[in-house]
């Protein structure tokens, strides 16, 4: 067994919160630069340039990329040979709070969804998974709600074809329209159960935008991206060929009677940071 202390976890999570919110992911920045080169609409090009400049200023001046520093979502992959000394969830929340305070990030979490209450930094949404080995992987994904509000889930019939699924995904992007800060990164979860499909859609956003590990899905992803970029939504919703930067699909086996499909949209400021201990 390998021991990892709660304090170590807190300090890593603290660093990851700052890193994710202040430094735009390299793969996202590269995708934005590539989109800038390929964009032909003059205004869209100027907006893409502003987005790239925003990332530069954020990094240089240690300012949050976006004022919506999100609901913090933390993914934990615990090796089965790891023993955590102390309480894992409180260690994560302690780290999130410290990271958000030190990074001058926004307290966007209300304690109760109905009575709302004062804005706080925590709790984070925490997903825990057990894996082989003696490592511990921590990933922080601050998710802004402009785009989170545009998420959707549909339970298809098992006999549904790709055509219908594609229509649903594209409709979700259309419904997001100009509201959720396009160009988008579209996370899709297919299979499992209703809850698992939505989890996969979120998890899909963690994968590098140029990584295409599944041959079958890689084709569907590039086909979907092409179709979405014909919608002429464009940066800020003001037109152009850059409506999405990438589509990432994660799939899982499902029941004979169903076919859940979930879509989790990210704004252009897709932020995450990870570390393996």
């Amino acid at each position: 067994m390998r021991s990892i202390s709660a304090n170590t976890i807190s300090s890593v999570v603290m660093r990851l919160c700052k890193e994710a919110n202040l430094y735009l992911r390299n793969d996202v920045l590269s995708a934005l630069k590539y989109a800038y080169l390929k964009e032909t609409n003059k205004r869209a090009k100027a907006i893409l340039m502003a987005i790239i400049e925003n990332a530069r200023i954020a990094r240089l001046e240690e300012l949050a990329i976006c004022q919506d520093t999100g609901m913090p979502v933390v993914f934990v992959e615990i090796g089965q040979q790891v023993r955590i000394k102390g309480d894992l969830k409180s260690a994560i929340n302690k780290g999130v709070k410290a990271g958000y305070q030190k990074g001058n990030l926004r307290n966007s979490v209300v304690t109760d969804p109905l009575s709302r209450g004062a804005s706080k930094y925590i709790p984070a949404v925490i997903h825990i998974d057990f894996v082989k080995g003696d490592k511990l992987k921590l990933t922080v994904l601050p998710k802004g709600f402009g785009c989170e509000n545009k998420s959707s889930l549909k339970m298809f019939k098992p006999t549904a074809g790709w055509f219908e699924i594609k229509k649903f995904i594209i409709q979700t992007v259309k419904d997001a329209g100009a509201d959720a800060c396009p160009p988008y990164i579209v996370g899709v979860g297919i299979g499992g159960t209703a809850d698992y499909a939505t989890f996969l859609a979120k998890k899909a956003l963690l994968r590098k935008l140029n990584a295409k590990p599944y041959t079958l899905y890689a084709k569907l992803e590039s086909n979907l991206l092409k179709e979405i970029n014909k919608l002429n939504i464009g940066p800020m919703g003001l037109g152009g060929r850059t409506t999405a930067l990438a589509v990432n699909i994660e799939a899982y086996p499902t029941h004979i009677a169903g076919l859940p499909v979930a879509v989790n949209i990210s704004c252009h400021a897709l932020r995450s940071a990870a570390l393996v201990l």
Binding site: I57, E61, E62, L63, N107, A118, S119, C181, C267
Partner: protein
């Protein structure tokens, strides 16, 4: 590129056309969901308002905490449509312009036309960049709301695009 300054006069905004690029200087007030709810309720009950709405420019924004040595933190626009149900009453009370991101409801477009107001868009998801156009920042109401409080921002050449002009023409419908 057109340059305008607050306080906005009726004639200043009547010449603005949907899609125009604007640089705004002067004072704007941040207000988002909870501040809107409070302003709306105060208006309905005929209570005093924490600032003068006559000719005011409202910015849908909840900034991050101000880092030491800076005027403001990251401060981009939030989704405007969440404010739609409160907007017609605020326009009736004298608000002349709003800054946000995304589309508006039919009712809001109708009210913009009726009260001769204007809806601006600004760079969304670019809060760090937009902080550079802010020269002063002070909390003027609802401090208990934290990031959702009302802050009066002094802006200089703040970049805007006309989203809906005084004739109710919406930029997303003319693409």
């Amino acid at each position: 590129m057109k340059i305008i300054k607050t306080p906005l006069k009726k004639k200043d905004i009547s010449r603005l056309k949907t899609g125009d690029e604007i640089l705004l200087s002067g004072f704007i007030y941040t207000a988002r969901d909870q501040a809107h709810k409070r302003l709306y309720e105060a208006l309905k009950q005929g209570k005093n308002l924490p600032f003068d709405l006559q000719g005011a420019v409202i910015y849908y924004c909840g900034p991050t905490k101000t880092p030491k040595g800076k005027i403001i933190g990251s401060c981009g626009p939030t989704t405007s449509s969440r404010m739609d149900e409160f907007t017609p009453l605020l326009l009736r009370a004298g608000v002349r312009a709003m800054i946000g991101k995304g589309g508006r409801s039919k009712e809001v477009i109708g009210a913009i036309k009726k009260y001769k107001a204007v809806y601006f868009l600004t760079y969304s998801g670019c809060g760090a960049l937009l902080s550079k156009y802010i020269k002063d920042n002070r909390c003027v109401a609802y401090k208990d709301l934290g990031p959702e409080a009302i802050y009066r921002l002094e802006v200089e050449d703040f970049p805007l695009i006309v989203g809906i002009d005084t004739n109710g023409r919406c930029v997303y419908k003319i693409l």
